[in-house]
């Protein structure tokens, strides 16, 4: 059987998820290369391809219309598209700016009007193209990626967790953060990470986003009543990795917002 051709692509992100792919160690990494052929991975290799690919891994958010054509090209060439990491699946931390109006002025001051500094709403990859599987997390759980790949290679349907982090804390017998006088978002946060944060004495920040249909109102109530949060902090808390999952409306790029004009560096 020929090896599956895999390619890795990145958009607006910190590239931490692809770094996780280098952390398997020699045995697991070299074994993986026995099953897949990496044909493109800009940060790691200079090889590039315009050929069809079996699996495209996409990291990062869709933040400017100028990136749409590149995403559509990847979709056309790839049998399977996997959005990996939170920036790609929900726009993650990048979406924190979506509820602000003055983010450009805040960072670039009087230069904010320069056309190359423009940036629209931070959106998930699925806002531009069809995504077949989501591997959540900030950073992604590298073993979950390995599991998805393994399932696909064996012709099985990967299981993407949709239960809250609380389940994983119970399973590993971690004392609840609320019992320690702290707060936590584990009640509505999507599991699959193994709940390492509460076990290390810190609250779950929902870095994998919310489960489907979270009870946001109850979360806010618990944050206020059990953790003593102010209204303002309880509101802000749920935004960290979930800004695009609030309410029912799906954010879209505003047609009036000009796309970044010189992303390819060709114009002065």
């Amino acid at each position: 059987m020929p090896k599956a051709k895999a390619a890795f692509f990145d958009f607006a992100c910190c590239e931490g998820c692809q770094i996780e792919m280098t952390n398997f160690g020699d045995a697991a990494f070299l074994e993986l290369l026995n099953h897949i052929e990496i044909v493109e991975f800009r940060e790691a290799i200079s090889e590039k391809t315009t050929e069809p690919i079996d699996v495209a891994f996409i990291e990062g958010s869709f933040t400017r219309e100028a990136d749409r054509a590149r995403l559509e090209d990847i979709r056309r060439r790839a049998k399977i598209v996997i959005a990996y990491g939170q920036c790609a699946t929900t726009a993650g931390i990048n979406a924190l700016k979506n509820h602000q109006k003055d983010y450009k002025e805040c960072v670039y001051g009087k230069d904010a009007g320069m056309p190359h500094l423009d940036s629209a709403q931070a959106l998930p990859i699925s806002a531009a193209i069809k995504v077949d599987y989501n591997a959540y997390g900030c950073p992604v759980n590298k073993y979950e990626v390995l599991q998805i790949v393994s399932h696909l290679l064996h012709g099985k349907e990967p299981v993407i967790p949709n239960h809250p982090v609380c389940v994983e804390c119970k399973r590993r017998e971690t004392v609840c953060r609320y019992h320690e006088g702290d707060h936590c978002l584990g009640q509505v946060a999507r599991a699959g990470c193994g709940a390492p944060c509460p076990a290390a004495g810190i609250p779950c920040e929902a870095c994998r986003g919310f489960v489907d249909h979270p009870n946001e109102a109850a979360l806010k109530k618990v944050l206020k009543e059990k953790a003593g949060f102010s209204e303002r902090r309880a509101d802000g808390k749920t935004l960290m990795w979930t800004a695009n999952q609030r309410g029912t409306s799906t954010p879209k790029h505003d047609a009036k917002t000009p796309a970044l004009t010189a992303p390819q560096g060709g114009k002065q």
Partner: protein, 438 residues
Amino acid sequence: MTTEAKVRVHHLTRVEGHGNIEVDVKNGKVTKCQWQVPEAPRFFEAMVRGRHYTEVARVTSRICGICSIGHTLASLKATEASLGIKVTEQTDLLRRLLKHAENFDSHVLHVYFLAAPDLVGAPSVLPLVKTHGDVVTCALRLKRLGHEWGSLIGGRTTHPTTAVPGGFSSLPTAKELQALKDRLLSAVPDLEATVKTVAALAPKIPAFSRPTEYIALHDKVEYGLYDGVISSCMPDGTKSTWPVSDYRKVTNEYVVPQSTAKYTKNKLDCYAAGALARFNNNFEQLHPEARKVAQALGMKPVCGNPYLNTAAQAVEVVHSVHESLRLIGELLKKGLRDEAPVKPARFGRGAAGVEVPRGILFHEYEYDKDGMCLMGNCIIPTNQNHGNIQKDFEKLVPELVKAGKGEKEMELALEMLVRAYDPCISCSTHYLDVKFTR
């Protein structure tokens, strides 16, 4: 003499983030020579506003996946400076150990996976699995060691979890620290192999040099990584220092049209940060084993060849292992104590500096009386290098033209130069292209 050349490198590979290079040579004259940074900007300084002080480092860690430990530490230190928190000696030692893990991890990645393929004429590390199997497995082993080392102290290496304002939310056990010490000791043969590999490739590193100002942290107690004052080393070796709180006077950020990342300058038109800047500023404080490596690689301060930044990283890899053995020894001797994170004493404004693998990093914040962030400012090492890369290009391209280099050779020389800086463009914002128009 090259008369006509056009180089266009779109999305330079084997660097973190996206950047472009554009060079045009017409009738033997360089008509264009530009380093461009069109990475999608992400607006972190806006995003930290309204975050609670316990969340700010979680947000700013996400500026960069490779230097997330450094961003976390710079953020925590700046928050602590704003909140009047003084951490314990144990926290200080553990954070230094965590910082070494990141430098080691990132340098191994850069030296082996990003820089070395150019020197053996390969497009990437993948074909080397067949031709240089031993070297690749050694690299993967060291990379995994860096990952486990950082994970033990920080919870994980990409966006650490346990480092919090005022201390740590959980600690490694003495047994785990002892096991790490044993692993570091058993890595010594791999380190020796690394030095041998770098020394064998060193003759292929281009001979190029440009008088440069080098800026790095200088720490009284060790080769500056986790803490210290800002130090500048001029081409003639003259040094001067500033407190970190004066970082804006040293960095002088400005916006240019070819970049979404801001540029910086101090005494000259631009300056360099990174392993070579640390090497030039703090050579005497390197561990003796690391100084031996520098000698074996023929390096001494002040070194003005930017391509040797990669060699300086190899020197630091060895330094970090030996320094960490000392730090673990000290922690084990004192005995680990459960300590609750230190609480804020006030709410105000504060700045901090940390050396991340790519150079000096500054964070600054201001908090209101409820501990909510009012403003943030982050100055990233790659931003501080963009101007310097541009000036290196402006000296290097005419030299390549004079030497009659063809487009391919020119392109490789420029790509290698950028890679030597190990740029982290998502940090500075994110991108790179070499372009030559005819």
